[in-house]
């Protein structure tokens, strides 16, 4: 701002004026004691000076932020709520400005007792799987309440609170269209599956589902559905063909339970289904491990939107077992002959597997006793004679030698290890009898497994004092539930004789404290299944597993190969390395120091 400096001081002496203050409020004041000016000989003239200030400089500072962008999603339940709701005027707010305080503590029940607030101890969240790519879908899963809260919700009643790892299993299955629940036997795969299905049904994601299981397990599934999802309509596909056809065509809601055997016969019905199932679950999915088998083909032909496989033994023999299962779960995910690291990478988002050691730290212990018995002299003679003759015979066959010939000899020798065919002498039985005495004395029950009904019959005759029951392929299906109930409830029945085939899956026998493997199965997974009939959730005491092995025989040689198979399983699921992938033809021939004619080809045999 230009200022006029034509003023003088009161004593008429030239004065110097200066502008002070800020640009908005200038003040003019006389400068006193400016000694330099008063001492100048020529005086000082005051002149008008243009300060050169055209005005205070302004700087524009943006005060507003750029518009805030948002990403949002309205979930179906929200849309539904919005559509249902009429839009009357909003109720005006109260106008009081008081600051009252209301005490809202615990809810009080009608009977005056204070309810315990529902604060979950654990918090299990549903995480979207990798293959869910839309943000809206991922948010939908992330924003679901913790499963513990859903369970605490009084609109869904459950018989008892699941374990934390079971919540994890449900959280894993819930968002997945493609999943393998591969928990070790006895950890509750059935319950986790049913609970997840129940949630999906309740929220309208699934209206119609099909469950395929081995025939002996149908009643088990029916019972578990009644327990964990009593409101779900169940339809069991059974009976004559005309009835099954009608059911496939007309059961349009709820859960259909079919067994593998009838499913293969009903393949034409599957082809005629127009609307795909919202969910298809296959139990004991190792049934479809053979990629080129009919069962695999038929199961994979089920029209479906979601595919879940349940198995305690995703790998029984080789990693190709997984390939078969994934043909159903996620076709194209795995290819035959893939390397183990690639398989691990490809399946890790689809498979969940927990072992008892990992999750059931309070489960009673499972104790193994390897009963290495020496054959009786009679057995030893028979064994040596059979082996000698057998090997000579195999060598004589030369080019005509096939793997069936070798298997026949193996079976013959294993049966001699059980009972001497000439005298009936049995070192295993002698040991078993002593152990059963102890079992009976302690008031506990025992399961005895063998792979041959002939052996089971022999045991039945010799174990009459223990009230043996039988559960194997020769027992009609309709009688089997009754056998289990009798074993459970009749205190005079201490022993049940089971075949690996009929008794190794799906049964709950946790009241049995002893398991005897009278002879060994071809792969360890089936043995583990058998053992876990007793060692599972609900087991009230330790489970003692006795594995019989005739020392110095074919059983010992097979056992060493089984151990290698365990290593294979660990390589895929636990990251260990493995040298061999299974029982090859070469190894089977090697049991008798025979050389396989075409040594370049390895084929899975067992």
């Amino acid at each position: 701002m230009p200022l006029d400096y034509q003023s003088r001081s009161t004593n008429q002496r030239p004065a110097v004026h200066s502008v002070v203050g800020d640009a908005l409020h200038p003040e003019v004041c006389e400068v006193r004691n400016l000694s330099a000016a008063t001492t100048l000989e020529y005086g000082v003239d005051c002149v008008a000076v243009d300060a050169g200030l055209a005005g205070p400089a302004g700087v524009t500072v943006p005060l507003a932020f750029a518009r805030v962008k948002t990403v949002g999603v309205m979930f179906p339940a929200g849309s539904q709520l919005l559509r249902k709701e009429p839009q009357p005027e909003r109720v005006a707010k109260p106008t009081t400005v008081d600051a009252p305080t209301t005490l809202l503590t615990h809810q009080v029940a009608d009977d005056g007792e204070e309810n315990i607030p529902l604060i979950p101890i654990t918090c299990t969240r549903i995480r979207p799987p990798r293959d869910v790519v839309k943000l809206e879908d991922r948010l939908y899963y992330l924003l679901q309440p913790p499963l513990e809260q859903i369970f605490a919700n009084e609109t869904l009643e459950f018989p008892f609170r699941p374990f934390k790892y079971q919540f994890d299993g449900v959280a894993f299955l819930y968002p997945r269209n493609e999943a393998v629940l591969a928990d070790e036997m006895g950890l509750g795969k059935t319950m986790q599956t049913i609970v997840t299905m129940r949630l999906l049904f309740q929220q309208g994601h699934v209206r119609r589902a099909v469950l395929v299981c081995p025939k002996p397990l149908v009643t088990n599934w029916q019972r578990e559905f009644t327990l964990w999802a009593p409101e779900l309509p169940l339809t069991t596909i059974e009976g004559k063909q005309s009835r099954r056809e009608w059911l496939w065509e007309n059961a349009r809601e709820g859960v259909l339970i079919a067994n593998y055997e009838s499913l293969v016969r009903d393949r034409a019905c599957l082809a005629a289904i127009e609307e795909p199932f919202d969910l298809a679950v296959i139990d004991e999915s190792q049934r479809i491990k053979n990629s080129s088998g009919t069962t695999n083909e038929v199961v994979c032909s089920i029209p479906r939107k979601r595919s879940w496989a349940l198995t305690g033994t995703p790998i029984e023999n080789s990693v190709d077992d997984l390939v078969g299962i994934f043909q159903f779960v996620s076709p194209g995910c795995l290819r035959p002959q893939m390397k183990i690291p690639n398989i691990r990478r490809s399946v890790e988002d689809y498979i969940i597997r927990r072992t008892k050691d990992q999750v059931l730290t309070d489960l009673p212990p499972k104790m193994f006793r390897d009963a290495d018995v020496e054959l009786t002299p009679e057995q030893q003679n028979s064994y040596e004679m059979a082996e000698k003759e057998g090997v000579i015979h195999l060598k004589e066959l030369e080019a005509a030698l096939t793997i069936q010939h070798v298997f026949e000899l193996v079976i013959r020798l294993k049966q001699i290890c059980n009972f001497d065919p000439r005298t009936g002498s049995s070192a295993k039985f002698d040991r078993l009898r002593v152990d059963l005495e102890e079992c009976r004395a302690s008031g506990r029950k025992a399961i005895i497994f063998s792979q041959w009904t002939k052996t089971l019959y022999e045991l039945r005759e010799r174990l009459q004092e223990f009230g043996p029951l039988e559960y194997h392929g020769k027992i009609p299906s309709r009688q089997r539930d009754g056998v289990i109930e009798t074993f459970r409830n009749d205190p005079s029945k201490h022993v049940i004789l089971m075949s690996y085939g009929a008794g190794s899956v799906g049964l709950n026998l946790q009241f049995a404290g002893y398991v005897f493997l009278f002879d060994r199965w071809w792969n360890p997974a089936v043995e583990d299944q058998a053992i876990n009939r007793a060692h599972r959730i609900g087991a009230t005491g330790p489970v003692t597993v006795t594995r019989f092995l005739a020392a110095g025989t074919i059983e010992e040689r097979i056992n060493s190969i089984l151990e290698e198979k365990r290593q294979l399983f660990n390589a895929v699921f636990d990251g260990a390395t493995v040298r061999k992938q299974g029982l090859s033809r070469q190894e089977i021939f090697g049991l008798f120091n025979l050389r396989f004619p075409d040594s370049g080809i390895l084929e899975e045999a067992a």
Binding site: M74, F75, L81, P88, P117, L135, Q149
Partner: protein
């Protein structure tokens, strides 16, 4: 412009309400939860989740990062954070929402500025202090809910009785602090998906 209770009293509506304005209808049996995360590199991310009284998600919105510049930091000074959370993030999120709710809960006191910007009942929820003396006095309305304290600012016009039933109903199904965890997880996910280059999962921190 939101269709407030005062406008509702006009003798004749000026025009038909838009979908946005339908929010002013009778509150649904739902509760809103609003919170924000702070990331030192990207600024603030806000999230708003509407839950049914069973705790099921009905609607969700989150913001892209809001980053104050240096001038704004200087000009807003100590009020910057409250301004960003309430005026910018909270107000925007509530405006985007289509579902009218019974109340909006936040776990950040700075968000209570929404009270002056919104017709919704806005309340802050905090864990009950373990020692009585630690409880900060509030001049606004407040109520106790299980282990939590729900309160508003003195400018809040809501009465505790107006929301006590609905909060009690929600609290019987849901830990009322838990939904904020969901929001934070969803914000991280949205940020990761929409801007993978700035995947700041590890950088995002609770603004509280």
């Amino acid at each position: 412009m939101r269709f407030s209770g005062r406008l509702a009293g006009l003798a004749r509506p000026l025009r038909f309400p838009t979908l946005e304005e339908l929010k002013v209808s009778k509150p649904l049996p739902a509760i809103g939860f609003v919170t924000a995360l702070e990331d030192e590199n990207h600024g603030y991310f806000g999230g708003y989740l509407v839950l049914s009284l069973l705790g099921r998600p009905l609607e969700f919105h989150c913001t892209t990062p809001v980053q104050p510049n240096q001038a704004q930091r200087i000009l807003y000074g100590p009020t910057l954070r409250a301004y960003v959370l309430a005026d910018l993030i909270g107000q925007t999120l509530l405006a985007k929402s289509q579902l009218p709710v019974q109340a909006v809960l936040t776990d950040q006191r700075e968000m209570l500025g929404l009270t002056l910007l919104s017709d919704d009942i806005v309340a802050c929820i905090e864990s009950m202090p373990t020692v009585d003396s630690e409880a900060e006095p509030t001049d606004g309305p407040s109520l106790m809910l299980t282990n939590y304290r729900v309160f508003g600012t003195p400018s809040c016009l809501w009465h505790p009785e107006a929301i006590q039933d609905v909060l009690q109903s929600l609290a019987s199904h849901v830990d009322v602090m838990e939904p904020f965890e969901r929001i934070r997880a969803a914000i991280r996910e949205a940020q990761r998906i929409t801007d993978p280059a700035t995947d700041s999962q590890h950088g995002l921190a609770d603004a509280a």
